[in-house]
């Protein structure tokens, strides 16, 4: 078929980016969908032809990702988040409001074709909850009036201004905050190369390329005791040191910008306001492991961020920080962005690699680990955005300096996206080991509306929840593990005394059932079972024996799955049914705390 010139150019650019053409499949489908509104058989045939794939391969990949559509949808795709952070602040009510306003239900399109509506999973706007996206634009801190205004403007053919950066990222330093990696947040034009350079940008790269050996870089990172900020907390320096030095294969650096752990929206401001830090960190990582090619895998929903990164990357190329012979040192490093298409599982590093190869995002069997056989079966390091963005600091100021900001074995600071029932949801940078109660009460301004604290997700929905009386804990990997939870992704979700914990468990179950890739039996069937069971239970159809059953189904998933998604579904569910069993008993007697959230009662 005849592909419009601009899309044709984009296709050619994408196909040229990868050593294996198939890698361009998902980005090509995303851009084609942007052009035509959906993926017709004709365009899929064309893409298949260009990539030398058969239709089974294309369909397999296409049907996996939730953002790709084979059928036409509305001109403006309204996507309302109802995941935990939004749920707590009126996500469901927002959805109901949009449904009423547009006169259509979930996954429906208005007869005039102007709007279609979809209830979606966490979109990374947690500190701006409740939030929605229309096409790729983010609208946050929604109220019914705000929603009406936005929809009216779209209906009138206009495009209302989306939030410029994530809500809650621009504020005076909160008590206890130590702005190190967020130092450039709020600085005018911070995303430009000029400002970045004015504020010490690319000095670390000079140092790393001109003064340090690869081993010295790795040692410095080891010294910093930097641990992965994506959620698993694996020591970064050690991860780099696993890459075989003498492999004849090419090596890759992959930045994991697939931020999609519910409650987590902290990589978003980093890329919005400080994209060059990620670029600089990626080049340094490249030097450390001997890689000359990097990819930034950005979740599909973050398209405008991908555009920001593309601009920054172009600047960096022009200034000689990327490309051949960087800074005259003889070191080459190519870097480009890569869009996902809607799949939480692709945040898992091996699933991310499969996705980057243009396949369904299935996790891989480990070993071999990516350090040995990653992208295209070549040695690969996959690091979270925040992790890589931290690297320039460590190189410039030294690993010891960075480590000293935190507590032993838990070096430095990290970003938290705080959401839920607090007075000041937002993005905060705190040293490792900071007390959780202080975070809630001092940093985030305490529980909203003078309510009492009930529960906290310390690091995204994949963590066991903490009860109010468990919150006197130092937020470092080891201390939180000691009380049976995890530091996780920095997505800190606070729930007040009025929160229905059965409803929270129900929504979490919906998320994992939706995001389970379907590869292994316990996760595929177990998450779906939990979803149905908790739906029935919450809606009043519970039986006494369901309470232990919820726990047992979760336990039977736990530890038995191929990747950590199964555990992520099981752990919060088990913690809720055990810690708030009383609320489950109450449901059997028809008593539910859940009431429609009044989106206006929460102060912004």
């Amino acid at each position: 078929m005849q592909v419009p010139a601009q899309l044709d150019a984009k296709f050619n650019q994408l196909v040229g980016r990868y050593p294996v053409k198939r890698s361009a499949l998902i980005p090509m489908m995303m851009y084609a969908q942007d052009e035509f509104g959906h993926l017709s058989d004709e365009i899929l045939d064309e893409i298949a032809r260009r990539l030398g794939l058969n239709m089974t391969e294309v369909t397999e990949t296409l049907s996996y990702y939730s953002m790709l559509h084979r059928k036409p949808i509305g001109k403006n795709h309204v996507q309302v988040c109802t995941n935990t952070s939004c749920q707590l602040r009126g996500g469901f009510e927002t959805l109901a409001h949009v449904e009423k306003r547009l006169g259509i239900g979930n996954r429906q399109t208005t007869p005039n074709g102007i709007f279609s509506l979809e209830e979606v999973e966490c979109m990374g706007a947690c500190s701006g909850a409740p939030a929605m996206q229309v096409n790729y634009d983010f609208y946050e801190n929604l109220t019914p009036e705000k929603v009406d205004t936005i929809l009216d403007q779209f209906a009138a053919g206009k495009r209302p201004a989306p939030v410029p950066v994530i809500s809650g990222s621009l504020h005076e330093p909160a008590p206890g905050e130590n702005r190190v990696i967020s130092q450039r947040f709020g600085v005018r034009d911070s995303r430009t190369l000029k400002v970045y350079r004015d504020l010490e940008g690319y000095q670390a790269l000079e140092k790393a390329l001109k003064e340090m050996t690869a081993d010295q870089i790795i040692d410095e990172v080891k010294k910093s005791s930097l641990r992965g900020r994506g959620g698993a907390g694996f020591p970064t320096g050690m991860k780099w040191s696993f890459v075989p030095k003498n492999s004849p294969k090419p090596k890759y650096v992959v930045a994991n910008a697939d931020e999609s752990e519910p409650g987590t929206s902290k990589d978003r401001p980093l890329m919005e306001m400080d994209p060059h830090a990620l670029i600089e960190g990626s080049v340094i990582a490249g030097k450390a492991i001997g890689s000359n090619q990097g990819y930034i895998y950005v979740r599909g929903e973050y398209r405008y961020i991908l555009d920001i990164l593309d601009v920054a990357i172009e600047e960096a190329y022009k200034a000689g920080y990327l490309g051949k012979n960087i800074l005259g040192t003889g070191f080459d490093f190519e870097l480009c962005t890569h869009t996902g298409a809607g799949a939480y599982e692709c945040g898992e590093e091996t699933a991310l690699l499969d996705s980057l190869e243009g396949k369904r995002g299935y996790p891989r069997i480990k070993p071999p680990f990516p350090a040995v056989a990653g992208l295209y079966q070549c040695p690969t390091v996959v690091n979270n955005v925040e992790t890589l963005s931290t690297v320039p600091l460590i190189i410039r100021k030294g690993g010891d300096w960075y480590a000293s900001l935190g507590v032993p074995k838990n070096g430095g600071t990290r970003l938290y996206s705080i959401s839920g029932h607090v007075n000041r949801p937002g993005i905060y940078e705190l040293p490792l080991g900071f007390n959780l109660n202080r975070i809630i009460n001092e940093v985030a301004g305490g529980v909203a509306n003078g309510k009492k604290l009930k529960a906290v997700l310390p690091g995204g929905t994949s963590c066991p929840l903490l009860k109010a009386d468990e919150c006197d804990v130092a937020m470092d990997y080891d201390s939180v593990a000691k009380i049976g939870s995890m530091l996780g992704s920095g997505g800190l979700v606070v729930m007040d005394e009025d929160t229905c914990m059965v409803d929270v468990a129900r929504r979490i179950a919906h998320f994992y059932a939706h995001e389970s890739c379907g590869w292994c039996i316990p996760c595929r069937e177990g998450t779906a079972w939990l979803r149905k069971l908790l739906d029935r239970f919450h809606e009043g159809g519970g039986r006494q024996e369901d309470i232990p059953l919820i726990d047992e189904v979760s336990q039977n998933i736990l530890g038995n799955t191929l990747c950590a998604l199964g555990d992520a579904a099981a752990l919060p569910t088990m913690s809720i049914v055990r810690k708030w069993r009383g609320e489950f008993e109450d449901h059997l007697r028809g008593k539910c705390l859940h009431k429609p959230a009044d989106v206006l009662t929460v102060a912004h």
């Binding site: 089974t56 391969e57 369909t59 397999e60 049907s63 369904r360 939706h514 177990g526 779906a528």
Partner: protein, 761 residues
């Protein structure tokens, strides 16, 4: 392939010390030790999945249970597959699988041979805690032979892998995500593929069922006969499922054949010729110009009388015999005896689909170590494929080639006219004009021959690369014959290591017919007719002297018949009028006598004076020899209703004619007895009977005692019918189920309206 010494490691499983080669997976080590570790997704030879989690085992010093299918046994490792935690995990996984799996076993085709059913009985629970609504999707028809029932699918991905890795067809994939994941076919709800049906066989549950078999019976109502396939020359074992003397299914039940789990569309769906309505079920004798039913006594008496008459009137030189590519070794052997000693003529030949005689003659005494088996293809470090589209013509050979490339990184070299699917696996491929394959081989052997600069350049590289290979297997089709075969062996002998050869013919016993000496100039075992000692040996065995003058070949016989020089023609299991493209078939009627033994009213049979209805391969006992020389037994799985085996017919006729003074009577009454005579007398057939009786294969390496550099063959005598995956010569016309798959390819039916709507967004 050179065996490399593998280090042994020892580990403990269920308290048992096991010693296995380093790199062995625990699940395999367990199987070898007789300890069952259950699994759905693990399948030997296919990529590891770790998806079903049924094989979870406990490893000491490891926090979580590990999947035995991905766990490599290590020295000192202590593994438990029988602890309460392991048993609980199996139970839990089954409970998960059964949440959405419909409990429709009473109406499910797989009931009784379902792995999920078996595992639930063995490891599962007797009640379900899942009270939610199960997922339901309508069943889909993907082709006339493949149906998919999504709710039953447990997503083990065996079908996807066997289609991709094993078949290199990639017609199946996985669609959607999470619990709604389903298997999807490639062409918008339909299958465009080789219709091998491997996906059906490999499915552990009733998700993929066969359109040719479903809803007819239950597995326990049937009897099972493992036998060699009736179609191509590869000799796959197929298991016939029989109920009430009817074949209801052919599949690959025990994987014990040379084909392992492989079977193509013909082996799986091409069995219903046995019950085809056009089957000839009683003898027919031409009376007043038309063929009319006759009693066996009358028909046999008629043949014997008229053969004797023709013989006595026109002499033995006016008699001719055309043998078959399908009948058993014992039958071909008997036919040979019949021609040479009963009729006293060397006018005997068959449609030669490969130059087996050429290869045997070129190899001579080296044949014993130089003929490749099917297994040796997979074991080869390099494979040369010349003038054959193995994917279409020799599906098992192609399967073995792919396995060699996939599992052992073997190098494949191809010389062929036009594109081939196997080029995807090839290291080098030279495209030559059709018919020039022999010249290309000549160039390889001698460095001379005019093929043009481009091809010569490619052949140079080809030769250069092959010079570095060791233990090469060379496979070649019909276009490499006569002198070209000699050149090929000359070239192959120059390569390092042990070079092995396989001549690729068309049909189930093409090789057997050749080995049994169905030639005008060769006796069984390729013994030259010109050798007086051989003539003497066989004449003595068969009770009558063998005439020394070579007979005429098949084409010459047809010509002689047209010219009225041949007076009586005896055809068994062949259709020479069609095969040799006889221009004026009706003139054949000028023969004094044309007798045809066959299953169907072929072009040749239509002109016969007497037709004797013959039993099929699935209705008789005996042995077949595949194109690699591997002999295996066929078994009478069903009784032919009316027809008799060619063995019986020939035996009776030999007896009748002996009574009339032609030839000697025969003492053997059974194929087993004849096989014994073959084993004792045919060079290369002195194989172990035990191996055959237990369902295995034994390789025959028939060849003349000495290589004969002058042996050649006319170009128009060795040729392939170029059958594809859906044709099988004349026999293929009568395979309705097979033809239905072929027709569906040409004219796609409309798929069910629900197809796709529920998984595509």
């Amino acid at each position: 392939m050179a065996e490399t010494e593998t280090k042994l490691i020892s580990f403990t499983l269920n308290g048992q010390k096991l010693s296995v080669p380093a790199g062995t997976l625990v699940i395999e080590a367990a199987k070898q030790a007789g300890i069952e570790v259950p699994s759905f997704c693990y399948y030997p030879g296919l990529a590891l999945q770790a998806a079903c989690r049924m094989c979870l085992v406990e490893v000491e010093k490891q926090r979580k249970l590990a999947t035995a299918c991905t766990l490599v046994a290590e020295d000192g490792m202590v593994v438990h597959a029988d602890t309460p935690a392991v048993h609980k995990a199996r139970k839990d996984m089954l409970e998960f699988v059964l949440t959405n799996h419909p409990l429709d076993c009473p109406v499910c085709d797989k009931g009784g041979e379902c792995e999920l059913q078996d595992m639930t009985f063995t490891y599962g629970i007797d009640h379900s805690r899942f009270i939610e609504e199960k997922l339901h999707y309508p069943e889909e028809k993907w082709s006339p032979i493949v149906f998919y029932d999504a709710p039953r699918c447990i997503l083990c991905f065996r079908c996807v892998r066997v289609c991709d890795e094993g078949m290199d067809v990639k017609a199946l994939g996985v669609g959607a995500r999470g619990v709604t994941s389903v298997i999807i076919p490639n062409e918008s709800g339909q299958l465009a593929c080789e219709e091998c049906g491997m996906c059906i066989d490999i499915c552990p549950v009733g998700a993929l069922t066969s359109g040719t078999y479903r809803y007819q019976t239950r597995p326990w109502e049937m009897k099972y006969f493992g036998t060699a396939c009736a179609h191509c020359s590869n000799g796959c074992k197929t298991t016939l499922s029989i109920r009430n003397n009817e074949i209801l299914r052919a599949n690959n039940r025990d994987h014990s054949g040379i084909n392992g789990e492989f079977l193509c569309a013909k082996g799986r769906f091409g069995y219903d010729f046995t019950t085809n309505a056009e089957r000839i079920r009683q003898p027919l004798v031409r009376k007043g110009g038309t063929l009319q039913p006759a009693s066996w006594e009358d028909a046999i008496e008629e043949i014997a009388r008229r053969l004797k008459q023709a013989h006595d009137t026109h002499g033995a030189a006016a008699m001719g015999v055309i043998g078959s590519n399908h009948i058993t070794n014992e039958e071909s052997y008997l036919l040979n005896r019949f021609a040479r000693t009963t009729l006293g003529t060397n006018n005997i030949d068959h449609h030669r689909t490969a130059d087996y005689a050429g290869l045997a003659t070129a190899l001579g005494s080296k044949a014993k170590d130089s003929m490749a088996t099917m297994a040796q293809i997979e074991g080869a470090s390099a494979i040369v494929l010349i003038a054959n589209d193995a994917t279409q013509q020799n599906p098992l050979v192609a399967w073995q080639i792919r396995a060699a490339v996939r599992h052992h990184a073997a190098h494949l070299y191809i010389i062929h006219a036009g594109p081939l699917k196997l080029q995807r696996q090839a290291a080098q491929s030279v495209d030559v004009p059709a018919g020039a394959e022999g010249r290309a081989v000549g160039w390889l052997a001698t460095g001379s021959g005019d093929l043009g600069g481009k091809i010569t350049g490619e052949l140079e590289k080809f030769k250069e690369a092959l010079a570095k290979e060791k233990d090469v297997v060379i496979l070649f089709g019909a276009n490499v014959r006569g002198a070209a075969v000699r050149n090929l062996v000359k070239f192959g002998s120059g390569l390092s290591g042990q070079t092995r050869y396989m001549s690729l013919g068309d049909y189930s016993n093409s090789r057997g017919a050749a080995d049994m000496g169905v030639f005008p100039d060769r006796l069984p075992g390729y013994a030259p007719l010109s050798d007086a000692n051989e003539r003497g040996r066989w004449g003595k065995l068969w009770g009558k002297e063998i005439p020394p003058k070579p007979g005429v070949n098949a084409r010459q016989m047809m010509q002689a018949a047209l010219e009225g020089k041949l007076k009586a023609l005896y055809v068994v299991g062949a259709n020479p009028l069609k095969t040799f493209g006889v221009k004026a078939p009706d003139k054949i009627a000028g023969l004094d006598l044309l007798v045809v033994q066959d299953m169907f009213m072929t072009e040749t049979a239509q002109r016969a004076d007497v037709i004797l209805p013959a039993a099929s391969t699935y209705e008789k006992d005996g042995t077949l020899t595949n194109t690699a020389g591997e002999i295996q037994m066929v078994r009478r799985a069903v009784d032919a209703q009316g027809p008799r085996s060619d063995f019986d017919l020939l035996r009776i006729l030999i007896h009748q004619l002996a009574q009339l003074g032609l030839g000697a009577a025969m003492k053997h009454r059974t194929p087993e007895a004849v096989l014994e005579e073959i084993r004792q007398n045919v060079r290369g057939y002195d194989v172990s009977i035990a191996g055959l009786l237990t369902g295995g294969t034994e390789q025959a390496t028939s060849a003349p005692a000495a290589a004969d550099g002058s042996y050649d063959v006319a170009a128009d005598l060795v040729f392939s019918s170029q059958d594809d995956l859906f044709t099988s010569g004349t026999l293929g016309r009568y395979c309705s189920k097979l033809n239905s798959t072929k027709e569906s390819k040409e004219r796609p039916w409309s798929s069910s309206p629900t197809t796709q709507s529920w998984w595509s967004r």
